[in-house]
């Protein structure tokens, strides 16, 4: 299979032309839940190291994009992926599909297990494992899915828990932590898997206002000190502005407008973006 990045047939609407090729490519991706079309032939690229924020009204498909990348949801298949697209690519390889002969077919679980190794996700509701202490929350998957030794995993976990400021809580259960602390553990847990892409799905929405700053502070640190690619869904516009290189405004499953954060936040062109920002900032 040719690299889709250089393959003219796969050229999507968003043409960026990076030297190394995009890390993530959505090529005319469809996603429907029954009659409801959430994403309609959506195309965009994300370059390595880019930090992209997805904004837009609820139901606009932002979270679905992250869930598709994490393989929690699956694309609505097209009849002929080579011609019609409908494929998600990561690092030049199909994620939602797999190569069979020289055709693309919908990925099976084995392919997905391989493909999702590069991707980490932090959830709105933390989803820490309540039956494991903080340290084990961060080491368990390293040991069981990356095959690291226990010592190696623990060293990595302690380093990351230090980064998120929770070294003192390693022996606590998640139920003994505040929401903000739990979310910081969840960030450490995701980073421990060394993902190339980190997906942040409204990570501060479930937090009390006074706990939001800590979590965002940790994420700013991560953004400043690593080159990890991030896709961020958030309603924290200040954070989006500081951290991201690019902002994409979604409505009804299509990109309304995209650009540098300064452009989008200071001088949005589209009326829908203006309305959305006015509504969000008025809160």
């Amino acid at each position: 299979m040719q690299n889709p990045i250089t393959d003219a047939e796969h050229r999507p609407a968003a043409e960026r032309g990076p030297a190394t090729g995009p890390l993530v490519r959505f090529d005319r991706v469809n996603k429907s839940f029954g009659d409801l079309t959430v994403l309609d032939r959506l195309s965009f690229d994300v370059d390595p190291g880019e930090r992209v924020t997805l904004i837009g009204p609820s139901g606009s498909g932002k979270t679905t994009i992250l869930r598709l990348l994490m393989t929690l949801e699956h694309v609505t298949p097209t009849k002929d992926p080579a011609a019609e697209g409908g494929v998600i690519w990561v690092e030049g390889k199909p994620l939602s599909h797999m190569e069979k002969g020289n055709r693309l077919v919908v990925a099976n679980e084995r392919h997905l297990r391989q493909a999702r190794k590069k991707i980490g996700m932090v959830f709105q509701s933390f989803n820490l494992f309540p039956n494991m202490r903080v340290l084990r929350n961060v080491t368990e998957a390293q040991v069981h899915t990356l095959g690291r030794s226990k010592d190696e995993a623990e060293a990595k976990a302690r380093e990351l828990l230090d980064l998120v400021g929770l070294s003192a809580k390693v022996d606590n259960y998640p139920s003994q932590l505040s929401g903000g602390q739990q979310q910081r553990v969840a960030i450490a847990r995701a980073l421990a898997m060394d993902p190339d892409i980190l997906l942040l799905d409204e990570v501060t929405s479930a937090l009390d206002p006074e706990l939001v700053a800590d979590v965002l502070g940790v994420l700013r640190d991560v953004a400043d000190t690593t080159s990890i690619t991030m896709l961020i869904v958030t309603h924290e516009m200040g954070f989006a502005r500081d951290v991201s290189n690019r902002v994409m405004m979604f409505d009804r499953g299509v990109i309304v407008e995209e650009g540098a954060p300064d452009e989008i936040f200071s001088d949005p062109r589209e009326a829908r973006t203006q309305d959305f920002l006015r509504a969000v900032l008025a809160e």
């Binding site: 994490m70 989803n127 494992f129 259960y173 139920s175 505040s178």
Partner: protein
Amino acid sequence: MDFREVVDSLPRYAEPLLVTIQVTLASAALALVVAFALGLMTSSRHLAVRTPARVFVEFFRGSSVVVQLFWFAFAMPVVLGIQFDYAIVAGIIALGLNYGAYCSEVVRGAIAAVPKGQFEASLAMNFTPFQRMRLVVLPQAWPEMIPSLCAFAIMLLKASALVSLISVTDLTAMAGLVGGRDGGVNQLPHYALILVLYFILAWLIWTGMRALERRAKRGIGIDAKPEKGRLTPAVAQKGMT
């Protein structure tokens, strides 16, 4: 009615008491294995796995346990040529399968009650379905199962009296035996005696299960030990940031 006679016959109850305990423990162990096997199968998203388990569960729940008992003890030797050396084995199998079928619903329900976010986080961590079950789902579902399993364990203890119907000499059979002598004049005290014995056994099960539940809940960070002046377990201590 002669209380002296009842007291004198107490040693006769030692062996039947042991039989009742044996039947209860052995069929509870079998029921637990059956419950987990069927509970996991009925939780499967594959129809081919789910359907046979479902049929088994509904059949055993939907037919009389007494008839099942007779079937294992008397019909199976004739129909299938399988003869248990001891009637007690037939009793244990019948009760174990029947209660296992009931308890599989407890297992299934507790698995279904584990929040969806836990499945999603397990997937994001790239656990295999087996790892997800072993490391994440079952450890969380287990503490939720214990109270219902405890109720079933006590019901099983009481149902163990049914083995007296297939000529196993348990507490109930013995009470009938000794109480029935002399034209049955002492039936009342003997049956009263075993009522108390059953109650004590049930209380022991209940106490044991409470301890197990507390331990299991501590394993998920919930301190279920009742403290003075506090009715609900302390879960989250807020404002520690």
